[in-house]
């Protein structure tokens, strides 16, 4: 079945066109560079909202584009969006739009190159979410990972060479596992096609041995899981978050880590659902460590960004925890948590970036009472923190509630342990507020100024998104429900 180019292609092509325009734009027009990049992001934002509205909640791959690309290998240019990827497309475009707004003043040198790399990265991310062909999926996956290296070592801070190298090597290492897994499936299915849907059909027609499933699934899971910071392969992530510049941190924690979880669902679970059933207990155990251990480590950090970095480790644990529960609540919660955490952590990094740009430090104990000078930044950070500790009203609450509910259905005792993470999160988040924002104002920071109107716009968009989805969660769940149920039914078959 052939479908021509459509709106999905525009999702990843728009940032590429932005990149092309930027390449030919003289770098002294800094505002022009920013505007072009913002415009590209705005177009993808509008498109993703359009996709979200147009998506038929009955599920299945929609807006398909399917053309033969390389006949010999059976590579197809096959794009499609389902209930899992449509919200993530929306998430990505929200985060990149807000990311560009947040770094409007923060990035002062090599503005053009910065925006080129950002757009390149985001183009790769969009590509991953819409690709239904293993080759394209993998290419986009690499495009999404690599620019981060340059973004960190050029515009970063705090051990940036080490962290950039660590992150890149780690993720490439992970993608090797993914590649091996994909090649194994390709060989098993007779090397006729690389299309994921056809993979699926061929695997159904010619079921692989148990041994195949049990070895290939964990390879893919770990490969993607590294990107989602599964314990003990998580240490690249806090280091990377800390070293990256604001907008890159936002994209990185907000979107890139979701690529991992998305890859698990889209590729590993989709192709080898029995593998998830076999390894589910292991996944639950690892992610439980993520949740509790991540929170404890976050508690001990003194750098604001490290706190958030480890909180991401803890929160991404909730995503995997939900996947490991093998029930609809767990799956829905995991999918929702990807979205909710993405928005939340983008907000976190936007706020910390604003503080760092002005104070040039992120050490919690160096602050004190900066609420007086920066009420809006601190207020926005407060919203992020409250969302992080699972306050109702924000999207994260519904997501965590669903995950824990699913967990309770599957493993009541383990769920009761994991819930302790909620108190730990409250403890370390409120500690940050108490130490850094409240208390006796430190006269050293009297010169700080509050965020600009541009940054406030970013905060408003991010907070608004969290509230809208938190108050009316069906906005998300109605979209994702059908496809998650389909995926789940295959796992449980």
């Amino acid at each position: 079945m052939e479908h021509g180019f459509g709106i999905l292609t525009s999702m990843w092509v728009t940032p590429m066109i932005g990149v092309l325009i930027l390449i030919f734009l003289p770098s002294r027009y800094e505002t022009g560079v920013r505007l072009v990049s913002l415009l590209a992001a705005a177009i993808t934002l509008v498109s993703s909202i359009y996709l979200y509205i147009q998506f038929d909640p009955r599920g299945g791959f929609q807006f398909e584009e399917n053309m033969l690309w390389i006949d010999y290998f059976g590579v197809r240019y096959h794009h499609g969006a389902d209930g899992l990827s449509v919200p993530l497309l929306l998430l990505t475009s929200i985060v990149i739009f807000c990311g560009i707004l947040s770094s409007w003043d923060g990035i002062k040198h090599r503005v053009k190159e910065f925006h080129i790399l950002m757009l390149l990265l985001v183009s790769g991310v969009f590509g991953v979410f819409i690709s239904l062909d293993a080759v394209f999926f993998f290419i986009f996956y690499e495009i999404a990972v690599l620019p981060m290296y340059l973004l960190i070592i050029v515009w970063g801070s705090t051990r940036k060479e080490y962290s950039g190298m660590k992150l890149t090597l780690y993720l490439l290492f992970g993608s090797v596992f993914v590649l091996i897994g994909l090649i194994a499936v390709y060989v098993h299915t007779g090397m006729k096609t690389t299309d994921l849907l056809e993979f699926k059909a061929l695997l159904a027609a010619n079921p692989p041995s148990d041994l195949f499933v049990r070895t290939i699934f964990p390879m893919m899971f770990l490969g993607f899981g590294m990107l989602a910071a599964i314990w003990p392969f998580h240490t690249w992530s806090p280091d990377g978050h800390v070293a990256a510049p604001t907008a890159a941190s936002m994209l990185h924690a907000g979107v890139l880590m979701k690529l991992g979880a998305f890859g698990i669902l889209r590729v590993a679970v989709y192709l080898l659902p029995e593998g998830l059933r076999y390894w589910a207990d292991m996944i639950v155990a690892l992610s439980l460590v993520n949740i509790i251990y991540g929170a404890f480590v976050a508690m001990h950090q003194t750098d604001l960004k490290f706190v958030i970095g480890y909180s991401s480790v803890s929160h991404m644990g909730i995503v995997m925890f939900g996947i490991g529960m093998l029930n609809y609540e767990g799956f829905a919660g995991a999918a929702f948590q990807m979205f909710a955490h993405g928005v939340m952590t983008a907000l976190f990094f936007a706020c910390v970036g604003a503080i760092y740009d002005r104070a040039h430090t992120r050490q919690i104990h160096a602050f004190g009472g900066i609420y007086r000078r920066m009420p809006i930044v601190c207020g926005a950070f407060l919203c992020g923190g409250l969302a992080g500790l699972g306050l109702p009203g924000f999207a994260g609450f519904v997501a965590e509630f669903l995950v824990f509910w699913g967990a309770f259905k599957a493993h009541p005792v383990i769920a009761s342990i994991a819930v302790v993470g909620l108190v730990l999160t409250a403890f370390y988040v409120l500690r940050v507020f108490q130490r850094a924002f409240f208390g006796e104002p430190n006269p050293k920071w009297d010169g700080l100024t509050d965020s600009s109107a541009i940054q406030n716009t970013a905060y408003a968009i991010l907070i608004g998104t969290m509230l809208v989805f938190g108050i009316w969660p069906r906005l998300f769940l109605d979209i994702a429900q059908a496809d998650l149920n389909l995926l789940l039914s295959e796992v449980l078959r």
């Binding site: 003990p232 404890f296 109702p392 309770f408 108190v423 208390g439």
Partner: protein, 625 residues
């Protein structure tokens, strides 16, 4: 039940109660942060709308109830909020006598506190923010009250916790306030874990958490006990029962109107309200009821002893609140949810009165210290002083003030349903209550000291009318509400309430008078700062807060943070160490291998020949075998 309430239903009124506060919050936080007067106006407008709607709702609902045989059944107005294959959640309103009565408490006190704050917060630069938080709180509290299921309750339960956090830490620049706010949130969150797990357990068992179905759940006894106790964990946190009560006294760092609204009249009683809401669940389990009873009695006693030794007027009332919450909880545990709710109702008014009175004193004297307030002429503030006396009389449980009636109902329930030991303990707490409340009154009644310490020197002046007005309204309520006991009982449970039990009322009143006499003897005359009780060596324990704060401090500092340190250490040195170790190994191997690149052709040839020989040998072996 919609037809019972007429074609229009009462849902319009419920919208009028639920939404205005949230609208006010949104408007203030988005647009009016710099226009304080406008923010106040918006908030008070919302508050009056809600109050008017509540009173109308009450009038209509009670009219219906009067014409109805027995208790009026609950009506719910909901829409589907979240649904999965195994369960569905509704979001909306439940309308029954319980929610209406609770709404009256919440909205009346909210309104009065909002008016009072005009005076109290006068000149504070953060007034707009203050009113925004107050509105958010009242809206969330309303949402909690009208919630038809446990999930919605949990949602608003957390939101009122947030508002409590924000308002305790309202003067964020004070380190104590920032610490107290965090403590309050984390402590209550700890209890909320239980509630959350209980909610999940209930969902897992029944796929439903609607309160209207609680009577017909038919759970196995063990499970019912388990779920009840888990819900009770939430109550322990929120209604500050022993041993999680330590956050409430610290919460007094917030502005006094906040203490009156949140930490006396409304939020802290949410736990008691939840108990009444889930009564069928608890009644199914005797163990759960006994646990509730014992926690209530212990809390009532422990807090009352601590109230006896405080110098800070707000702390006295704070511990008193904890103690009175213990009364409500023990009443429920004794099997009388009606007595528990009635005490909640009367307590809300007289404790709000006492707190607002304390605020008025503090506003005038600039200090929280009882003796300092007395020195600066506390008794010269006539309206504040005499309304405080009325509140103290109600708190001590003397007739004909409201506290007398509600405590009588509780004592009757305890006497009839429980072991005599519980009854005696509660009686003794009544004595302590009278003592500490009149300790305050007698200290405040002392003559103003002339001298350089007196800053204002205008002892005859009272606070402005916006502050004394609410005091007088609350004092009136404190005097009158007790007489409504029969109507209250009939409305709430459909049963006519029995007359006073003189065999309980007389000894209780006698003990209360004894307490007052002891307080009078200790503090009535002379300038002593220590009474008879204070000189008892055993009072050192309540003075040190039963060592609970020290214990929690030790737990957080040593256990939690210690474990956190351990995890961080493991992460840095073992998990990350392994990663770096791999990287170092690779680098080392690379450097070793690179040594082979010597550039000497002879050596290359040697290696080549060696490798070919090995390969050749291998091929030979393969072919041969």
């Amino acid at each position: 039940m919609a037809e019972l309430y007429g074609p229009l239903g009462l849902s319009c009124l419920l919208h009028g109660i639920f939404f205005p506060y949230f609208i006010a919050f949104g408007v203030i936080i988005l647009f009016l942060r710099r226009w304080e007067k406008a923010a106040m106006a918006v908030s008070i407008l919302a508050s009056s709308t809600v109050l008017a709607s509540t009173l109308m709702l009450f009038a209509r609902h009670q009219g219906l109830a009067a014409g109805h045989e027995g208790v009026l059944p609950a009506a719910t107005y909901t829409l589907s909020w979240l649904s999965t294959d195994s369960a569905a959640f509704q979001f909306g309103y439940i309308l029954d006598p319980l929610s209406v009565l609770m709404l009256i408490v919440v909205e009346v006190v909210s309104f009065l506190v909002q008016v009072y704050s005009i005076g109290y917060m006068h000149g504070d630069p953060g007034r707009a923010r203050f009113y925004a938080y107050l509105s958010l709180f009242s809206g969330s509290m309303t949402g909690l009250v009208v919630s038809p299921n446990l999930l919605q309750t949990y949602i608003f339960w957390e939101l009122v916790g947030l508002c409590s956090y924000l308002l305790i830490g309202f003067w964020w620049h004070k380190p104590e306030a920032a610490a107290a706010a965090k403590k309050a949130f984390v402590m209550t969150r700890f209890g909320d874990l239980g509630l959350f797990i209980g909610l999940l357990m209930l969902l897992h068992a029944k796929g439903n958490a609607a309160f209207t179905d609680f009577g017909t759940l038919g759970l196995p006894a063990g499970l019912a006990t388990c779920i009840s106790l888990l819900i009770f964990c939430g109550v322990i946190g929120k209604s500050s029962q022993f041993p999680l009560h330590v956050w409430l006294p610290d919460a007094m760092e917030g502005p006094t109107p906040v203490s009156a609204l949140i930490h006396a009249a409304t939020m802290v009683v949410a736990g008691v309200y939840l108990l009444s809401r889930s009564a069928p669940l608890f009644l199914a389990s005797e163990t759960a009821m006994l646990v509730v009873l014992s926690f209530g009695v212990v809390t009532a006693f422990v807090a009352a002893t601590m109230a006896c030794v405080q110098r800070d007027i707000k702390k006295v009332w704070a511990y008193s609140t904890v103690s009175q919450l213990g009364y409500m909880v023990l009443a429920f545990g004794a099997g009388s949810s009606q007595a528990s709710m009635f005490h909640l109702f009367t307590h809300a008014f007289y404790k709000a009165l006492l707190f607002l009175g304390a605020g008025s004193f503090i506003h005038h004297a600039g200090s929280n210290d009882l003796f300092e307030i007395a020195r600066k002429g506390g008794r010269g503030m006539r309206i504040t002083f005499w309304t405080t006396v009325i509140g103290a009389l109600a708190l001590a449980g003397l007739p004909p003030f409201s506290g007398f009636f509600s405590k009588d109902a509780i004592l009757v329930a305890v006497k009839e349903n429980c072991h005599p030991l519980w009854y005696i303990s509660v009686m003794f707490v009544g004595f302590l209550t009278a003592y500490y409340s009149f300790r305050v009154v007698f200290i405040l009644f002392r003559k103003q000291e002339a001298g350089p310490g007196v800053a204002h020197g205008h002892g005859g002046h009272d606070s402005p009318l916006v502050m004394t007005g609410p005091l007088m309204v609350l004092a009136l309520a404190t005097i009158c509400v007790g007489a409504w006991e029969g109507g209250f009982g009939h409305y709430l449970s459909g049963a006519p309430h029995g007359a006073l039990h003189w065999d309980v009322a007389i000894p209780a009143t006698f003990l209360a008078l004894l307490g007052i006499v002891l307080a009078g003897a200790s503090f009535g005359s002379g300038g002593r700062e220590e009474g008879v009780l204070d000189r008892l060596p055993v009072m050192e324990i309540p003075r040190r807060k039963y060592y609970l704060d020290d214990f929690y401090y030790w737990v957080t500092q040593k256990i939690v943070l210690g474990f956190s340190f351990l995890c961080a250490y493991v992460d840095r040195h073992f998990v990350d160490g392994a990663v770096n170790g791999v990287a170092d190994t690779v680098r080392w191997m690379g450097s070793q291998w690179s040594k082979m690149q010597t550039g000497q052709v002879q050596q290359y040839l040697n290696v080549l020949i060696l490798i070919f020989s090995i390969l050749g040998f291998g091929v030979y072996l393969t072919v041969k075998f």
